[in-house]
Subunit: 140 residues, 3 copies
């Protein structure tokens, strides 16, 4: 019998970087007994992203961060939108280059993540924020 469920998660960040919240998502799926269906995450912000990435070597997250800092430099004179600081417009661009939505099919009671895939909140601002994520499930 098909059904749906909605939820909201908040991830508290301490500035730039990748925050793994795979367990919080899995916990919601297990508590509700989701067997098969589609799980969707939507981040309600424009200066942070949702990302599925490698969860083994922390160097991967560090290198991702270094690359994006070089690609979208803070304080670039190209930017007009600077009222909130040097990291504000780079945060919007980093969000545009990544994503704010994720979809993960659920099968046999488990998220179909690959062996090395974790679900991350990527904070693009230098200061910490409380980031809200809307979750939705439809299936059995």
């Amino acid at each position: 019998m098909l059904r749906q469920a909605s939820h909201e998660l908040t991830v508290a960040t301490r500035g730039r970087g990748l925050y793994d919240f795979t367990r919080e998502v899995e916990k919601w799926a297990v508590q509700n007994g989701f067997k098969e269906g589609l799980l969707t995450l939507h981040l309600q912000h424009t200066s942070a992203s949702l990302l599925i990435q490698e969860n083994a070597d922390p160097d991967v997250r560090r290198d991702l961060e270094s690359f994006f800092q070089r690609l979208v430099p803070d304080g670039d004179p190209l930017f007009s939108h600077t009222a909130e600081g040097d990291d504000d417009m780079p945060a919007h661009i980093r969000t545009a280059l990544t994503a704010v939505n994720l979809n993960i099919p659920v099968r046999a009671g488990r998220l179909t993540l690959g062996t090395w895939q974790g679900i991350y909140l990527w904070e693009h601002r230098t200061h910490g924020h409380a980031r809200r994520i809307a979750l939705h499930f439809i299936g059995e």
Copy 2:
């Protein structure tokens, strides 16, 4: 009682830039009385994107456009696919760097967009086009 609905929107662009069509999406959701569920948008083109971005300061959209023009230069000698003009291959690359799908959960009769989030069609070609978007809703 779960149900689904399909729709199509066309956004007419006047060349490069971000076009807010949040209201057209919300209008469809309200007219059909969607209460809770998942709303999906798919853009049927390969030289434009769908983007959720800041809807307050127009400088954000201008800076996004400036950054992408610098990152993916028109007429770059690297490109072989130039038959349709200097902006053709950059448009495909800008599309690859962003997205053509969006998912937004609906809850309590409203799209779960954040306070500052708007839904944009990002035209990457220098000339205007009529861009078609397939919409789908499943829920109650």
Copy 3:
């Protein structure tokens, strides 16, 4: 009557580049008689992407590959995560810059892809891999 279905596809790659698997997805949709609904694809890897792109001129795929090789250079001294080779960290970054999820509404028994849209697996590693994709459909 709403229903759902799950499936898994494997795309065997022979190194870097874009692999069209639109037909495999369409075949699954046709075999199951999907009429209207939402089809979701999730790639279970962190060094390859799913991409909807132009399916006409092969130069588009070559130019996409050239651009990404220049944007994210193999063996960049910026990277610490190098144990698996010069192409390892660039593969993770290319994945972050693109996507591992796609959603395509189905309508009138057909995927709502645009005329020039194909579904691609983008292999970012220089060696070939077997890439697994979880598929989900919900609808009628």
